[in-house]
Amino acid sequence: MASAEQSKPRLLTGKLSKAGMLSFLSAQGILIFFLLSMFVFSFFSEQFLSQSNIMTVVRQASIIGIIAVGVTVVIIGGNLDLSVGSMLSFSTVLVVDLHDKIGPTNAILLMFVLTLMIGAVNGFLIGFLRLNSLIVTLAMLSAIQGFVLIYSGGQNVDIADQQGTWFAFFGRGYVGGIAVPILMFGLLAIVMQVVMSYTGYGRRIFAVGGNPMAAVYSGIRKNWCVFSTYLISAFCVACAALVLGSRVMGSQNNVGQGYELLVLAGIILGGTSLLGGAGSIWKTVIGVLILGFIQNGLLLMGYPYYIQWIVTWVIIILAVWLDLANKRKRLFTTHS
């Protein structure tokens, strides 16, 4: 956000220096790229910009998006959360399996409680014991995968009465013509954007991620701040599990496998710094949507879906490069 404000005066004076161009590209490049790719895809596929396709893509992207909202908060706070992928597997298997055993309401409540507990463990280890977040959440990633396999015994879980249950609302329902997953994604994104931009809590998270020492000296309780970001992340995963389980009406152990990287890709694409202290929820939303539209667009053009990984790689490199180029005010380094 800071770089966006810097670029405005230069543009307004009309003197578009090279550095000004760079900073404009880096700040708004993601939006420009978004519009550009939409244009290219719509050129190749008639259905791409149809309302039903856009709704389909946003609905598909909302699972990744919901998780990305939470992880963005963790990253702004100066940490990482790699455990979200297997946490999603865990929560989805749990809520689907318990649905038939203890009823949807209890299943959802229990799933939220257990998912938040995992978040609390992450938050405790990282916030209070000050362990490295990369290591803690990476270890958590495989630990949860183990728990899921023990819990399910490797079997798929299914909901028997797929037509009759109100649980279908979260993944398949519509309110006012808009799919519920999109509404949940939108609502979470708006609430978190407001919290991060306009509340003292949000400012404290930015402070802790940007300069932890200064934050502590100014009286911010850093431990609790970090701890809370992992609760937010876990809460978002639980919401995503609700959507995923309801959408598929079943689950398998590896359902969330690799989601942590998709989530990170969306966040990086949006321009949130992995070093913490900077970033925004709404740019993460754009980043996640770009990934969704690329996948859908390539598929409509007839390419296999794994081409998107290569395309995503190119885009991420470009995004990171432009960001760095803006900071050092030139595209290439002068000395090797």
Binding site: G154, N156, P304
Partner: protein, 312 residues
């Protein structure tokens, strides 16, 4: 499990007093990725149960966790342990061949189960036991042709790219469809990675892309049900014929409800028992063919009651 078998075996050994005493075989098995899906999990328990029933078998059960390097390590461990035979569920049909050759050179017969290895490795194995996935693809193509009356346009959701089962099913399906049913056009194939959610997303995109889809062939029922979910969501399930393979419980139920046309019945229990039987036949020195396929019949609403609901 291992202990139980050992106890069972020793009890049998003690009770046998005459010269009819059976030899006890030690058979090692390295599996692909137990726990990743229900089929493999059921296979493992069925294999252990079959070994217990056989009585004269000690088993060493290993799992590669989908990792080729780990599977090669496990092969070498089993060779070191001098087991009597090795059963391998290859993680990769090509990369495991050197390890299989090592076992062959050490005089240990190798039986490949479920999923084939590449041509180059066939000379080093004693036998293959498993489903005929090419035939399954052919059967699915025939069902699709019957269901559509020889006319229509369809899409395919295939399994994991590079996985032998996925390629063989898709290959058998495409070839047979082209030759037996020229009126049915396969418009597009996309991988669904054996994952229901992924298949659901792929199908949603297909439904956007094509205004008319008459049929969907999925590499297994798990993905097929994902496709059905997507079509239900778009309100277009009635106009589409769904055909899968490896009948899952969810697919079985969907056939029963009349939403899903048909599938291929493939039991992991049959698969596991066939693998053990093949290994025992090899050890007994019986003359068996190199390729041993167990029956995987077509299943539709018409013959549904002949089959038990799958446990997975």
């Amino acid at each position: 499990m291992f202990k139980k078998t050992a106890i069972a075996v020793s009890v049998i050994m003690m009770s046998i007093t005459t010269a009819q005493a059976e030899t006890t075989y030690r058979i090692g098995i390295t599996q692909n990725n137990v726990g990743v899906d229900s089929y493999q999990t059921t296979y493992e328990s069925a294999f252990e149960a079959a070994a217990e029933r056989a009585g004269n078998v000690d088993i060493v059960v290993l799992d590669a966790g989908g990792d080729v390097a780990r599977q090669i390590g496990q092969m070498q461990d089993l060779i070191q342990q001098r087991v009597d035979a090795i059963i391998i569920w290859p993680t990769n049909g090509q990369a495991v061949i050197p390890a299989i050759r090592q076992a062959h050179n050490a005089g240990i017969p190798v039986v490949v189960t479920n999923s084939k290895i590449a041509e180059a490795g066939l000379e080093f194995i004693a036998a293959f036991s498993g489903p005929d996935n090419v035939q399954q693809g052919i059967s699915s193509a025939e069902m699709m042709c019957d269901a559509l009356g020889g006319e229509g346009q369809i899409v395919q959701i295939s399994g994991q790219p590079g996985y032998t089962t996925a390629m063989e099913r898709a290959g058998g399906f495409e070839e047979r469809l082209a030759e037996a049913c020229p009126g049915v056009e396969l418009m597009e194939t996309q991988p669904g990675n054996w994952n229901r959610e992924r298949a659901q997303r792929v199908m949603e995109d297909f439904l956007t892309k094509y205004d008319r889809i008459d049929g969907v062939y999925s590499g297994d029922d798990n993905m097929g049900v994902g496709a059905l979910n997507a079509a239900n969501g778009a309100g277009r399930a009635d106009e589409i014929i769904f055909i899968g393979a490896t009948n899952f419980a969810v697919g079985y139920d969907a056939i029963e409800r009349g939403e899903y046309y048909g599938s291929i019945y493939q039991s992991p229990v049959d698969d596991a028992e066939a693998a053990l039987k093949t290994a025992l036949d090899v050890l007994a020195g019986e003359d068996i063919p190199k390729m041993n396929f167990f029956e995987t019949p077509k299943i539709t609403a018409e013959n549904l009651e002949e089959f038990d609901r799958p446990v997975f």
